[in-house]
């Protein structure tokens, strides 16, 4: 067998192995539920906020937002819900905590949001956005101060 044909065969076998591994990981590992973080932590607050947004339960998501937020001082609840609905798209996404800094009364949680949005044959279909949530403690509960809109998500 010629060298180039052997190379092609070897590459073909490698492709089959990669596809098999990917299928296994996607179908088995991809369906495990995520672990819920403690509710009284900044990370847990951000997680529950994003989960509520994902489920389009905007009333629940609103409960995680601080009334002291500059945006919410000028825009009532209805406007906020309308803006979230107008930005709703069909892309699938997932969020991961990259970093968090917690102090006594305030915290920052940096989240990487991966949005799956195919855009051309050789373009990366996953767009990653970094969002830093700023939280403050109000009446013993962590509340999100900013950002309260997720325009980058869609």
């Amino acid at each position: 067998m010629k060298t180039s044909s052997r190379f092609l065969l070897g590459f073909g076998i490698l492709i089959i192995v990669v596809v098999a591994v990917a299928v296994t990981l996607a179908l088995i590992g991809g369906n495990e539920p995520v672990k819920l973080l403690p509710q009284d932590s900044p990370e847990g607050t951000v997680q529950r906020f994003l989960m509520a947004v994902k489920e389009q339960d905007y009333a629940k998501a609103y409960t995680f937002l601080s009334p002291q937020s500059e945006y919410l001082k000028t825009s009532p609840y209805d406007d906020w819900v309308r803006s979230m609905q107008s930005m709703r798209g069909n892309s699938s996404w997932k969020a991961s905590i990259v970093n968090s800094t917690v102090r006594e009364n305030d915290a920052t949680v940096e989240v990487a949001v991966d949005v799956f949005r195919p855009d051309g044959p050789l373009a990366n279909p996953v767009n990653t956005n970094r969002v830093t949530f700023v939280l403050q403690k109000e009446n013993g509960k962590w509340m999100i101060n900013s950002p309260v809109d997720l325009y980058w998500l869609y």
Binding site: S4, A26, L27, G30, P33, S92, K94, A95, S96, L122
Partner: protein, 560 residues
């Protein structure tokens, strides 16, 4: 006529033609308005203004255009050089292409209006006026062009651009119209869930699509089947075949197929089960696949039939194989890069990253898209690449030095090198940056994930094609005889000896036709004679060679 004087006349003819046409459009539009009694007393002022402007443009532009154009025509009728001039050819075909495009678009508007049932409130007087005037301008200039013929190479080339541009516009419009109307029919079916109001099938969208089919179909039929019917040997026709119709339809069809397979796989893996009317995409994807396949198949057959007549069947087939192989390989590479992201992301997730929100089946999207691309591309690439390997093994002496093959291989090698370079720059940058800021953590891996995916695929692609290029070089693919600029002076442009010479040289020659009295008997050349002539051409010292085939005293004249 001198060139400066010629430019003067044609520019003024064009400008005054524009003024005359605009004035006629103005007056016709007013007439239609009057017929429809659209204006009220309040618009009388506007009517007079518009009427005055229209009359002024016609009264001034008309005689001026007539003056300049009749002077141009008198020169053209007296002087063969004038009727065959480049500027005249350019002028006539420019007017033809602009007036034809305007006619086609306004015809579409008129047909769409006719399909509404002749509703007076939707009639466009301006558009109809433009249609009439542009059609008249087109018809008149076409009559002039056809009467004179296309004797110079420039005239023929410019005309080809006009013919194939309109043919392409017609074909694309026809195809889009067919896909749209089928899609509208599918969407209108009473099978979709969740509808509280359903619009009827016969609406403005459907009427527009039908008008598009008629307009596109008429345009394509006229320019392809009638105007371009005898133009078999031109290079532009080959570009039209292979780049626009064959490659273009293959890209459209394969894209629709990939989208269909992706969405079906995603649904089977459990994605978007709660999205109402998920399968409505089949309304556009299936007709796109079918229309694209028909266009691809039809033009491929025509190209192969014509190339057999013109005795360059093998090179035409070769171009087709390499184009399709390139398309398949590109899609295959894209699918592999995406699927490699799944295990890489798993590794990143397992290394300290904390996923807090993930929809079930997040990976199914990646998997569906990559599997769809692989499922479509692998059979295509394997089929065409194996044909290419066969061709190289059976007829390596002709196949390996072929330009299509060398372009294919070097484009892939070049693209792989560029991709590798960009990826390696990013990888090294991320590593160095991480080291310098003292943070070689998971973020570094995350930031270079896409580069790692493309590197892992680009390297084997590069190695494989470098190996093929190396083998071709060893077998003499780069030892080409230097190309000469060869001009052949013959009695008959269509002499079969020209194809023989081009076949032996491996490239096209320029042909000039002798118009004087023949000095002697036209030579009948055998294959041996042609072989000797080609050797003389290749051995000549200069880059330009004139080959004179007017009598038995055949001359091979190198010149600078």
């Amino acid at each position: 006529m001198s060139t400066v004087r010629r430019v003067f006349f044609y520019v003024l003819a064009l400008v005054t033609l524009g003024i005359l046409s605009a004035g006629l459009i103005n007056l016709l539009s007013l007439s239609f308005d009057a017929i429809l009694a659209r204006f009220t007393l309040a618009q009388v002022g506007d009517l007079r203004q518009q009427l005055s402007l229209g009359i002024a443009m016609v009264v001034i532009g008309g005689p001026l255009w007539f003056l300049f154009w009749s002077m141009i025509q008198r020169h053209a009728e007296r002087d063969a050089d004038e009727s065959g001039s480049t500027l005249r050819a350019f002028y006539l075909n420019l007017v033809l292409i602009v007036s034809a495009i305007v006619t086609v678009f306004t015809l579409y508007t008129l047909l769409a209006w006719l399909l509404t049932g002749l509703r007076a409130d939707q009639f466009s007087p301006g558009s109809t006026a433009i249609l009439i005037v542009s059609a008249a301008v087109w018809y008149y200039h076409r009559f002039i062009s056809e009467k004179e013929g296309y004797h110079s190479p420039v005239a023929r080339t410019v005309r080809r651009w006009y013919v194939y541009t309109l043919s392409a516009i017609g074909l694309i419009w026809l195809s889009i119209g067919i896909v749209q109307i089928v899609n509208q029919a599918v969407v209108s079916l009473p099978i979709w869930q969740g509808e509280i109001i359903r619009a009827g099938f016969w609406n403005s969208g459907t009427q527009g699509s039908l008008a598009g089919i008629m307009t596109g179909g008429l345009t394509w039929a006229f320019f392809w089947f009638y105007t371009a019917r005898d133009d078999i040997s031109s290079a532009l026709r080959q570009v039209y075949f292979y780049l626009l119709t064959i490659l273009g339809s293959a890209i459209a069809g394969l894209t629709a197929l990939i989208v269909s397979v992706y969405k079906m796989l995603y649904w089977f893996m459990g994605g978007d089960r709660d999205v109402a009317n998920y399968f409505q995409f089949l309304g556009w994807s299936i007709p796109t696949i079918l229309v694209a396949f028909f266009i691809w198949f039809y033009h491929l057959r025509i190209a192969e039939e014509e190339s057999a007549i013109e005795q360059h069947y093998i090179s035409a087939r070769r171009v087709h194989y390499y184009l399709m192989s390139f398309l398949g390989l590109g899609t295959l590479i894209a699918g592999l890069i995406i699927i490699l992201g799944i295990p890489l992301d798993s590794i990143i997730n397992s290394l300290m990253q904390q996923t807090v929100v993930e929809e079930p089946g997040w990976w199914n999207n990646h998997l569906s898209l990559s599997l769809a691309m692989l499922a479509v591309s692998i059979p295509i690439w394997l089929y065409y690449w194996s044909r290419i390997i066969d061709m190289a093994e059976k007829d390596g002496a002709d196949e390996r030095p072929a330009r299509s093959r060398r372009i294919y291989i070097y484009v892939i090698i070049g693209a792989s090198v560029v991709m590798l370079a960009a990826d390696l720059v990013n990888i090294v940058y991320q590593l160095l940056n991480g080291m310098l800021i003292g943070d070689l953590g998971i973020d570094v891996l995350r930031n270079m994930k896409w580069s790692l995916q493309t590197v892992f695929i680009a390297i084997p692609v590069l190695i494989y094609h470098l190996d093929i290029a190396r083998k071709d070089q060893k077998l003499g693919s780069e030892n080409l005889a230097a190309r000469k600029n060869v001009t052949v002076l013959v009695v008959d442009r269509k002499s079969p000896v020209i194809a023989l010479i081009e076949g032996r040289l491996g490239y096209k020659v320029r042909v000039s036709q002798y118009v004087g009295e023949l000095p002697g008997d036209v030579p009948q050349l055998s294959e041996g004679d042609v072989e000797r002539l080609v050797s003389q051409i290749q051995a000549s010292a200069a880059g330009n060679v004139m080959l004179v085939l007017l009598d038995r005293n055949i001359m091979v004249l190198p010149y600078k």
